[in-house]
């Protein structure tokens, strides 16, 4: 069982607020690991700072809780030092897309074999609800009391454009699909980026007419459009919707593998 085997049961119950989607996504990650049949002792989970980054505290693997925004460079260090490991990064929209945005695009570009799950709850939850780069325009936050005027990133487009091998977006509501996306992404040897739409009723929903986790999950259900179906829809029809599914699953060579080959030529030369 993924839950008992992969969670630090003594650390539970978790600190996430009632209605939060993060526990669902963390559960999906453990189930994907189980599905892939990975050796538990070859898995390292890395996080930065924020609500999402509390997940590794509950996950019973070797875990690193690092600096705000810097989980990806830490994880790259882990992977470069030991390419045999399955390195997972759990990050959020503030941690991964704001302060860590630069690191994200460069890790994509290098195609380092990291497995990123970015929990997008559209807000800085831990610090009480400031707007993030994924807060929708017009939304209310503690630092956008008159409505957010910043446009949001499309992180999947960003990751694809930056060179990630595998890119997908799922939701806490579509849990089985989410497990599949994570599982498939984790199997890709290159850089995998999975955006998981999660809900924060406490610091996003209650300021934006979605008072409960349930209401927010219904919103996920009603506003997500599958990638294939989206291709048949007009821009007008897609307005206010978001696209889910696997956007790419490429086979470009992974970075530590490329580096191994580089090193190999010297080993041959010295013989």
């Amino acid at each position: 069982m993924a839950v008992e085997d992969y969670l630090r049961m003594e650390k539970l119950p978790h600190i996430w607020c009632p209605g939060c989607g993060h526990g669902i996504v963390m559960g999906a990650i453990t189930r994907a690991i189980e599905k892939n049949g990975w050796d538990k002792n070859k898995v390292v989970v890395v996080s930065g700072i924020g609500c999402s980054s509390r997940a590794p505290g509950y996950m019973d693997f070797d875990t690193l809780h690092t600096l705000h925004g810097r989980a990806i460079p830490f994880a790259a260090g882990v992977k470069m030092a030991n390419p045999e490991l399955h390195v997972i990064v759990i990050t959020g929209d503030g941690d991964g897309a704001a302060i860590g945005g630069n690191h994200l695009i460069h890790a994509c570009r290098r195609n380092v074999g990291l497995n990123i799950v970015l929990l997008n709850n559209s807000i800085y939850g831990m610090t009480s609800g400031q707007y993030s780069p994924l807060t929708p325009e017009g939304a209310l936050a503690t630092t956008s009391p008159y409505g957010n005027i910043d446009p949001a990133f499309d992180l999947c487009n960003l990751a694809m454009g930056s060179g990630a091998n595998f890119v997908a977006r799922g939701t806490a509501y579509h849990i089985h699909k989410l497990i599949d996306y994570i599982s498939q992404g984790f199997e890709n040897p290159g850089f995998s980026f999975i955006e998981a739409i999660s809900q924060c009723p406490t610091n996003f929903g209650r300021r934006n007419k979605q008072r409960t986790g349930l209401e927010m999950m219904k919103w996920q259900r009603d506003n997500s459009v599958d990638f294939k179906k989206a291709q048949t829809m007009s821009a007008e029809e897609l307005k206010g919707k978001f696209i889910t599914g696997i956007f790419c699953d490429r086979e470009d060579k992974e970075y530590t593998e490329k580096y191994r080959q580089l090193v190999e030529q010297f080993q041959e030369g010295s013989n």
Binding site: I49, H65, L67, H68, G69, G94, A98, I99, G101, Y124, M126, T127, S128, Q130, Y131, P133, T142, T143, S144, P145, Y146
Partner: protein
């Protein structure tokens, strides 16, 4: 104008900035200072100002550099780990001689630490903080009212010396609510023109703001000029408060939140007949060396109390120059010392304990 209102420290600091013409604020979320940017995001548009939540503390401090360069009164705030991120920018601001106000609502460290009040950023604050040979004036309030007054003064000091100024609070000052009054009301149009600003070169030669001096002699020249400013600050800007030091045999030295606790301990000590006085540095740079030096001539000992494991005590020792023993007592990691602990220690030390 003199109406007293009940405000949280973080919000009061923000309002104080606005009342002296600060119209630009760039920040990033971090506990325990979140109310400060949130307040600015609500208030600045009302006064034709600009609030922007940056993508990181590094971006925020560089936006501060830009707005300061453009001649505006500008402010940023953060807490310890975020202030560490800003240090590169602060060094450049000092090197480029740009005025701005930086608020550190200190929390316990090192690393991520915690979110409770601490004073363990004293070294970072008083030794420049970033790379290079520079200082920033550091103002350390002990109450919400003083946080307001010092924030207002911080903008004047910054403009006077063209130098960043740090307001060093802590989680207690930031989160606590106290009655405050705002004694000044200055709008940007009342402030003197900054002729050096890069705000459009119409009718004058273009201005240059930078800290790069490739020729060693030129860089030395800049550094000597900066040093002159720091010397001038040491002459004109030292602030402190003393309490009952005239007849004191024992001197307590503390700043900020800890000074309030020390006051309770000193009152308790006086009740049991111990002649205890307090020196409270208000500016941590420049440090009130002279008053401590003078006190050290007749005190039996000085006890420095901090919410750290001993940082300001080094400056106290440098000031006392061995004329009397200087002891240290501190709690750290977000633990706030209690007056009783300090009293017990005072009694023990007065009884000859070490």
């Amino acid at each position: 104008m003199t109406e007293k209102i009940l405000m949280k420290g973080n919000e009061a600091i923000a309002e104080a900035g606005i009342r002296v013409g600060c119209r630009y604020f760039f920040g990033y979320p971090i506990t325990p200072q979140n109310e400060l940017p949130a307040y600015m995001s609500r208030r600045l548009p009302e006064v034709q100002g600009t609030f922007l939540q940056a993508e990181s503390e590094v971006a925020a401090i560089n936006m501060v550099y830009g707005a300061a360069g453009a001649g505006g009164r500008v402010m940023t705030s953060s807490s310890s780990p975020g202030i560490s991120l800003k240090q590169e920018g602060i060094s450049y601001l000092a090197g480029s001689e740009l005025p701005c106000v930086i608020v550190n609502i200190t929390r316990g460290g090192p690393g991520l630490g915690g979110i409770q009040p601490a004073q363990s950023d004293y070294f970072q604050a008083t030794r420049g903080g970033g790379h290079g040979d520079y200082y920033t004036p550091v103002l350390a309030p002990q109450s919400v009212q003083e946080a307001v007054d010092l924030t207002m003064d911080a903008f004047d000091i910054a403009d006077k010396y063209r130098n960043p100024v740090l307001v060093l609070g802590d989680g207690m000052i930031g989160q606590m609510m106290e009655p405050v009054e705002f004694k000044k009301e200055i709008t940007p149009d009342q402030l003197p023109e900054k002729k050096w600003a890069t705000n459009g070169a119409a009718g004058r030669k273009p201005n240059i703001i930078n800290s790069l001096r490739l020729q060693p002699e030129k860089l030395e020249e800049l550094n000597l000029k900066l040093q002159e400013k720091y010397m001038a600050m040491k002459k004109a800007e030292v602030r402190y408060e003393t309490d009952n030091i005239e007849d004191a045999e024992y001197i307590l030295v503390a700043f900020g939140t800890t000074a309030r606790i020390v006051k309770s301990a000193a009152d308790m000590a006086r009740e049991v007949g111990m002649k205890v006085g307090i020196i409270r540095p208000i500016t941590l740079f420049p440090f009130p060396e002279d008053v401590i030096a003078k006190a050290s001539e007749k005190a039996r000992f000085i006890l420095t109390v901090e919410m750290s494991l001993g940082q300001m005590v080094e400056d106290v020792r440098l000031s006392a120059k061995g004329r009397c023993p200087v002891y240290f007592q501190g709690r750290t990691g977000g633990v706030v010392p209690k007056p009783g602990e300090i009293l017990d220690n005072l009694k023990r030390l007065a009884g000859g304990g070490k």
